[in-house]
Structures are given as C-alpha cells and as structure tokens.
C-alpha cells in the first residue's frame, strides 16, 4: 500500500518540476555550461520591519532609499545586460522618490483612493508590500526584488513577456525588449515582479485593468523613469 503511495508521490514531484525549473536548478548549481548568469547585487539583508506609520510619515521611509534587487539574468549579451542594468538602476531611483510614494498613496479609481484588484489592501499597505519586497515564493521581507530574468525570441507573437506563479523566473520577449528604452524595460520588470509579490489583474484588456496594481505601478515606474534615462 505504502509502496503505491511513494510511487504516486514520486510521480507528482516529477510533474511539478517542469523542464524550466530543472534548468533553473542547474543554473543555480552552476552545472549548466550554456547559461551565463549575472547577479546584480549580493545576498538579501535582514528582514524589513515596516509599520504603516513609517509609510505615511512626512519623511520618506528608509526602505524607499535602500530598495534593492537580487536579479539573475540568464544568457544575456553585454548590450542586453547593459539595458537591464540601466532599467534596474532606474527602478531604484524611482522607488527612492517622494513622487513615487505620493503616486502610490494617492492613486485613485472612480474617485476613490484605491487600486483595482488590490487584494483587499489599502494604497498604504500596497506601498508597504513593495518596500518589504516579500515575494510569494520566498516570503522574506528583504527590501529587494528577487527574480530571475530570461530573454527569449518569438517574433510571431504579441506577447511581451510572461511568468508562472510557481517560478521566480520571468520571460521577456526580445521582439519588444530590443526596441524598448530602459524605462519601458523597467516598467515591464516591475510589472512582472508585482505578480511575484502577489498582485494580479484581469487576463484581457479593459479600461479598469489599467488601474490594477501591476499595470498602474508598472506604468508609474516607466513614466517617472524617463527623467533618469
């Protein structure tokens, strides 16, 4: 009886680990020769402890200034890496501004200070979640974006990028990446990262979807980032 259970368990583990996850594990263990990985910053720091008072105080919280990233880029050329590096720097600069905090805290939909698909959180709580930066998969509040980014090319599709909930990796289509300026790449990275933190949006376009957390805040990064290009 138990032998059957063990067999079933083994099969379920096989199903849950798809090919991409295996590649990821190989990358992390440096067993794969054909993937060049680059880490932008070092290991996460100690957990962040933010209160709502810190968020709404007159002074910008320290975590806005120290917001960081632990991004691993898979198979990027030096020029692609350069664009990603600029995008990441731009994200940090924007998050470290009062303009960004104010835009998140005062974001409104239909005259109410709220986001669409906000998961029951207030604007201040959403801002707090961003600064804490605890991804669903690895919920450590380390004040840093933790993600893997892999470029792929599909010219016949209209997909800019995608990710799945069960992985820390996001996939970015070079069809769009190659023509995007760094602020648009930053907007896309932040949008995808907000999914990792747990925010979703409607699958198809609608005017209200623009007010969801990933779209609205991703767009803020893109717009405010223009001045850092």
């Amino acid at each position: 009886m138990y032998k059957s259970f063990y067999l079933l368990f083994f099969l379920s583990v096989l199903v849950s680990c798809d090919k991409k996850d295996k590649e990821k594990i190989l990358d992390e263990l440096s067993l794969s020769d054909n993937s060049s990985t680059k880490t932008i910053s070092q290991d996460p720091s100690s957990p962040v402890d933010l209160s709502l008072d810190d968020i709404t105080n007159t002074a910008l919280p320290n975590e806005a200034y120290t917001f960081d990233s632990n991004l691993i880029f898979i198979d990027t050329t030096s020029s692609q890496q350069g664009k990603f590096d600029s995008a990441v720097e731009l994200i940090k600069k924007v998050v470290g501004t009062e303009e960004f905090r104010s835009a998140v805290l005062n974001h409104s939909y239909n005259g109410v200070k709220t986001f669409v698909d906000n998961g029951g959180l207030s604007n201040a709580q959403i801002y707090e979640r961003i600064l804490e930066a605890a991804e669903r998969l690895f919920p450590l509040k380390n004040n840093a974006m933790d993600m893997e980014v892999q470029l792929y090319t599909n010219l016949s599709t209209n997909v800019v990028g995608y990710t799945n909930t069960g992985t820390k990796r996001i996939y970015v289509n070079t069809k769009y990446f190659n023509v995007y300026a760094a602020n648009s790449v930053a907007a896309n990275l932040f949008h995808e990262w907000l999914h990792k933190v747990g925010f979703g949006h409607a699958y198809t376009y609608s005017p209200s979807r623009d007010y969801s957390v990933p779209y609205a805040i991703g767009r803020m990064i893109g717009k405010m980032g223009v001045k850092y290009l």
Partner: protein
Amino acid sequence: MKNLFLLFLLSCFTVAFAQVSHVEFDENLERECYAEALKLECIDNKESVIDECLEKKKNSFSSNCRNFHDERKSRKTH
C-alpha cells in the same frame, strides 16, 4: 498517520497543478483590438471581451486583431 500522508500527497498535487500563468500582451495592440471589439459590440457590461461574439464576427475584425484574439484565446486555453 495514513491520513496525514494522504493530505501531504494532495498538497503535492495541488502545487503541481495550481500554477497560474501571467501573460503580458502588446498593450497598444490590446487597446486597438478592444476598441474594435467595442465597435462590434463584443464587450459585455463587465468590460470583458466575449469570445463567442469574436468568433461570430471574426471577418469584421482587422487581420491584426483576428490574429491577436486567436493568440489570446490559445494562450488562455493552454
């Protein structure tokens, strides 16, 4: 003990099959095709594009939007 083991197995299957995919499409194209769907009255009162309507009025859409809707539908059903 046996029940605990079954519970563990169940949670493994849940993790294996409950993955949600987030796909970001070209926003400009999305807007363009939403506007077309609006004109052809293929949007319901919850601002959702109605797939059956798109299928029925397929020939009235531009080729760009036809392709887009096909791709969107195929990504959704995968």
